[in-house]
Symmetry: C2
Subunit: 114 residues, 2 copies
Amino acid sequence: MVKFQDVQLDRTFSALADPTRRALLARLEREDGLSVSELAKPFPVSLPAIMKHLDVLSDAGLLTRSKVGRTVSCHLNAEPMEEAMGWLARYQRFWTERLDALEALLEARRKGQD
Amino acid sequence: MVKFQDVQLDRTFSALADPTRRALLARLEREDGLSVSELAKPFPVSLPAIMKHLDVLSDAGLLTRSKVGRTVSCHLNAEPMEEAMGWLARYQRFWTERLDALEALLEARRKGQD
DNA sequence: CGTAAACTTAACTCAATGGTTAAGTTTCAA
DNA sequence: TTGAAACTTAACCATTGAGTTAAGTTTACG
């Protein structure tokens, strides 16, 4: 095997690529344990459409569900995001360097004005 | 309009959801300014397939291209990743809290053993 | 000038996504 | 026990995505 394909990272990024799914996660970040229908309510799409989004989020490991009676509670699991952050962090220098340069410039100016 | 849809974030995450595209970016992170064919060489797919990936990366603003003669140099632009990091950062507490808890536990144990 | 290198475009295929409506299933409650 | 609430499943549809091969364009060079 030449190349290890990081399927988990694929699934995480692709789950996050949809605005509806990001909104669902954002909702759970503020208020965990909402039911499927409560989660679905704000969106202008059908319940089965939301179900599919929840399936995608579950497959990516970003969501767990627990059934009590006839209602299903949804729980955020942010852990897979850690790897995504880790991947992105490698590129952080490309914008922090820029900020550092700006800060250095501003610092130099400030000193010049003393 | 009820909801602002962040098209840039959609494009960034969906560009990053493909392992070939992530590999292309990783390559440019180490060695900027590679030509299209140099970039394509390591991959087991046709040149037009790579072209399409480069188009996706360009549309997401993650790549710029500059032509000199008949060769096209590719340049990484990591800036759009900043927003993606920002979005993810909101969830960072879910794993750093866990780590903090673990560290606290280990610290407590260490003290107990003194 | 003619050919080859380095892309680029076009046309096509196939599978996956994101949505729909309609028809289940299970559980609660009057 | 009957009906409604809260999902779930199935079947379908249109669009997009990732790949292909084949043909076209532009630039360099002997």
